[in-house]
């Protein structure tokens, strides 16, 4: 029987200096965790949650519009993952598998939200819960511009520029061809740049 040392909060924190939150490369360790979780050991699954929740949040946050929805998506995704764990092959990358589930949960929340809020569209993208400088004009403009972008383009630019996902990974996450992810990124950047130029130009 494999013994796994469980450590609390072993990941580096997500701060401005370390944007791309990475999961430590410990494939054997992770495989053992997955196998233990598949046997029903909740402590092992808890460790998987601990390792992957930040990256899962980042994926969700790129797709949904609010911090609260991202939280819900992460919780739903881990619950789905736990229920489907018996179907997961331990030789695969757990992170990639989980991110697909997170993306699906996020898209599902977005769809439900769209139906619910059909008559009450927000003017801007809601900011994260701890936005440090609401008065920052660039940020406010950016929020407004992001709200005007098509949802998929917004997700693509955030996943690529903020989270560092490759086009092929974004394609898999969002269920679109890689070429579409490339062109979405191009159009999203162009739109946002136009807006920033307007901001820089003298009034």
């Amino acid at each position: 029987m494999t013994t796994i040392a469980l450590r609390p909060a072993s990941l580096p924190l997500a701060g401005p200096s370390s944007r791309r939150v990475t999961t430590p490369d410990r494939p054997d360790d992770e495989k053992a965790l997955v196998l233990s979780a598949q046997r029903g050991e909740l402590e092992a699954f808890s460790e998987l949650v601990r390792r992957h929740q930040r990256r899962a949040y980042a994926v969700a946050r790129a797709i949904v519009t609010t911090h609260e929805d991202a939280e819900d998506a992460v919780q739903d995704a881990f619950l789905h993952a736990y229920r489907a764990l018996h179907r997961f092959l331990p030789d695969q990358a757990f992170g990639a598998w989980l991110h697909r589930i997170v993306a699906n949960a996020s898209l599902d929340i977005t769809r439900r939200r769209k139906v619910r809020d059909a008559d009450d569209l927000p003017e801007t993208i809601a900011s994260p819960f701890r936005d440090p400088a609401e008065s920052d004009e660039l940020r406010l403009r950016l929020q407004a511009a992001l709200a005007r972008l098509p949802e998929r383009q917004r997700s693509v630019i955030v996943l690529h520029d903020v989270e560092g996902f490759k086009h092929s990974e974004i394609g898999k996450l969002l269920g679109i061809p890689e070429g579409t992810a490339r062109s979405d990124l191009h159009y999203a950047r162009s739109a946002l740049r136009r807006l920033l130029e307007q901001l820089r130009s003298p009034q």
Partner: protein, 128 residues
């Protein structure tokens, strides 16, 4: 000899994003940093996992039962369909019988044999 290849319209992969744009995006989408936040989120997730998520457990049906239910529903649909078709065919038969059937009480038509008619014509011509 030179061959000219026309490159397809490609969107550059390494289109350098504006530094301030990227910086602003990263600030906007920054994940929470506090350890306490992540511990609490992990706890909420594990509570849901351990509790089987009581909120939606009432409709969670094991896949095997769902499969049996689907088969039963399909079978019931086939039976209902065949019964419907059968009753429709019976109704049509009854309607047909009520108009032209042997049991109908309405007027009957005299059916003339073509040979008899021909003979009658011959007799008429012969002055009979």
């Amino acid at each position: 000899m030179t061959t000219n290849y026309s490159a397809p319209h490609l969107v550059p992969d390494d289109d350098p994003g504006e530094a301030d744009l990227t910086r602003a995006l990263r600030t906007l989408y920054a994940a929470p940093e506090a350890d306490g936040y992540w511990s609490a989120l992990e706890q909420r997730i594990m509570d849901r996992v351990a509790g089987g998520d009581a909120l939606d457990a009432w409709w969670y049906v094991p896949a095997q039962w769902a499969r049996i239910g689907l088969i039963a529903a399909g079978f019931a649909l086939v039976v209902a369909g065949s019964l419907f078709l059968r009753s429709r065919a019976e109704q049509r038969q009854m309607a047909f019988d009520s108009v032209v059937g042997p049991s109908a009480g309405g007027p009957t038509l005299a059916i003339h044999d073509a040979a008899t008619e021909r003979q009658a014509m011959v007799n008429y011509i012969n002055g009979r």
